[in-house]
Amino acid sequence: MSTVNLQISERRAQRAGGSIGRRSAGLFFVLPAVSFTVVFFILPLIFTVYMSLHDWPLLGDHKFIGLDNYSALLSDRQFWNSLWFTTRYTLLITPVIFILAFVLALLVSLPLPGVGIYRTVYFLPVVIGLGSSSLLWVWLLHDRVGVINAILTGLGVMDRPIIWLADSSYAMTAIIMSVVWKTVGFTMILLMTGMQAIPAELYEAAKVDGANYWARLRYIMMPLLRRTFALALILSVIGSYLGFDQFFIMTAGGPQNSTISVVYWIYKNSFTNFKLGYGASLSIVLLVILVILSVIQLRLLRDETSY
């Protein structure tokens, strides 16, 4: 009896030792990724938290002030305005990107000749930097030399050119148009890849059962795309909340400070007003908000399906 017991415990010990070996091998393999994350994310994050507890001017010495930056932030009206503006921008742009990207993904998934060209064309703006594309749109929207005003007046949609970036609602529309143009290709590729991963047999089986195109779309494709939707949604929402270049270049926060996004406000505090400590505290708050939003989205789109 006792020898049996011994044998068992020896085997257990061997197994355990083996798994420690495997674990350390695993650790070894993820080491590059972990060290990258530590150096480029964890350490800067810790330093940002440290800075946020200081009065830290860009020039001159810094001093510890505890949570003063955070309490100042609570009464910073522009910060809350910017947060609300960024939320509104995210709520407006996300469905536009999604619907358009979904339709484009459906179209470029069709087995038609030359469809590869369309995929490339729709994806092309993604490889341009957001800064360059914003500058491009400033000129496209220009009232004297811009092609968009020329087309709209030429078609008789408007009598005279619009100064897009001088009016807050037009400015928002203009920024959304430029960012959708720039990013829709990326979401399209994500969704298309998701669509292509769905096994053809499922559609065939549904077809045999008499499901038409719309039913197959609704009851097979949409549920199975859930994971892809979650990924694309999180990337899109985070991207929108972190929006900066388009506001900095196209409107500089105007007209009448109506398009100041949160990151733009962080930038302004840090590099226009030279208050690095305050900028750091704003960044930490934004990070917390983004983590909460991402967790909510993941929960909502949690997917138990497997195929």
Partner: protein, 415 residues
């Protein structure tokens, strides 16, 4: 054997001390950082110095948008370069933060100390000390299109000298039609309007800050009059509608279309217009006050020596070389740059193009706001300065604009 060892040690010490003596006399390498505007000229200047001086300069060019951040971070770590040319408006802030070396004694030793651009010298002063001298000069002026002046029946050799004169000329040019407009300014660019709109107020005897830069004087008749002057031209359609949304991307470009009568600009435009737009016949005059008078925003760079430097004397050798007659004339003036000394404004090169003399004169009689919070007051696209201009001109609420402007300035100045 012991003796031998002792001799060896003594010899070694002698050699070592000789080496250290040689090192002290040896040339040093000075670090210099600069923003990327005007970098070709600067590289040429540094190459010229390096060619016949034992002390060498290593020039690092940094994108303008990152410049202050990089220098701020380096200063905090005691690793700032020896030589630091910076936008002159930042000098008070750098001096206040203790980043710069006091160079008053060096400056006094220059035979032409009293000829240095007054505004640059003033901005270099802090708490009784002097911290910087001029390094690049720029002054705002009024550019005008002589062709359009002639077409509108105006005398191209008699540019406006009052606001009323600008208004009348702008009206006549706009009346030409065909998308021609009399006047232009970048309506959504804070810094551009500090450069071209502030001088209108100064030339009329007003200001938005007190002399010490610590209090706001926005709510004054001169500021109101200047805002009403622009508003009148905007209301009457003498300024193209696109001006309202221009964040500065079209600050100079608008004039190069050949369809703008007048625009506030700087010396930099002379070379660009002559080289890239030879078809535009342009004139250049002073930015006037309401009833006459002239002023200008004296801009450009000042150069300072940072507290991190171990070679202040060597660094100042370079500075005095830059300010010498030879370099000011053969490098600066010969390449269309404004000289940094009042006594060299009129020189063989500027006499070839009197527009350069006008621009240099404008710079020399110009002003620059002295402030430790210049960026927040004047450069912030969402700050009180631009908000005031936009509210007054585009929304037509001059009273509200001035009230908010005064309050916004006072809040930043901590009044």
């Amino acid at each position: 054997m012991k003796k031998g060892a002792l001799l060896f040690v003594v010899l070694l010490m002698l050699v070592a001390s000789g080496v250290s003596v040689m090192t002290a006399q040896d040339a040093v390498t000075l670090q210099m950082w600069s923003r990327d505007s005007n970098q070709d000229f600067l590289r040429e200047l540094v190459d010229m110095w390096n060619a016949d001086h034992p002390n060498q300069i290593e020039l690092t060019i940094i994108p303008a948008a990152d410049f202050v951040t990089r220098v701020g971070v380096a200063s905090a770590g005691g690793e700032a370069p020896d030589l630091l040319p910076i936008d002159l408006i930042y000098v008070p802030q750098f001096a206040q933060a203790g980043n710069l070396v006091e160079i008053g004694a060096f400056i006094d030793a220059l035979p032409y100390a009293d000829q240095l651009s007054a505004s640059h010298v003033h901005l270099g002063e802090y708490d009784g000390g002097r911290y910087a001298v001029p390094f690049a000069a720029e002054g705002s002026v009024l550019l005008y299109n002589k062709g359009l002046f002639e077409a509108a029946g105006l005398d191209p050799e008699a540019p406006p000298t009052t606001w009323e004169g600008i208004y009348e000329a702008a009206k006549a040019i706009t009346a030409l039609g065909d998308d021609n407009y009399g006047f232009y300014f970048s309506g959504a660019c804070a810094g551009c309007n500090a450069f071209t709109f502030l001088p209108l107020i100064w030339a009329s005897g007003g200001d938005v800050l007190t002399e010490d830069g610590l209090s706001a004087t926005v709510d004054t008749p001169e500021v109101r009059a200047a805002l009403e002057f622009y508003k009148r031209m905007w209301d009457e359609g003498l300024i193209p509608p696109s001006a309202q949304a221009d964040t500065g991307t079209d600050f100079f470009g608008a004039f190069t279309t050949g369809k703008i009568g007048m625009v506030g600009s700087g010396a930099f435009s002379i070379a660009i217009l002559k080289n890239d737009h030879p078809d535009i016949d342009f004139g250049l005059t002073f930015l006037p006050g309401q009833e006459g008078g002239i002023s200008s925003f004296a801009g450009g760079d000042s150069i300072a020596i940072t507290s991190s430097s171990q070679h202040a004397a060597e660094a100042f050798e370079f500075i005095s070389w830059v300010l010498s007659d030879e370099i000011q004339l053969q490098m600066f003036a010969a390449r269309g740059q404004l000289p940094l000394r009042a006594d060299l404004v009129d020189n063989e090169f500027s006499r070839e193009d009197p527009r350069l003399i006008t621009n240099a004169e404008a710079m020399n009689l110009g002003k620059t706001p002295y402030s430790f919070v210049y960026n927040q007051l004047f450069n912030d696209a969402n700050g009180p300065w631009l908000a005031m201009i936009q509210t007054a001109i585009f929304q037509g609420d001059v009273d509200g604009a001035i009230a908010n402007g005064q309050a916004g300035f006072a809040a930043i100045l901590g009044e």
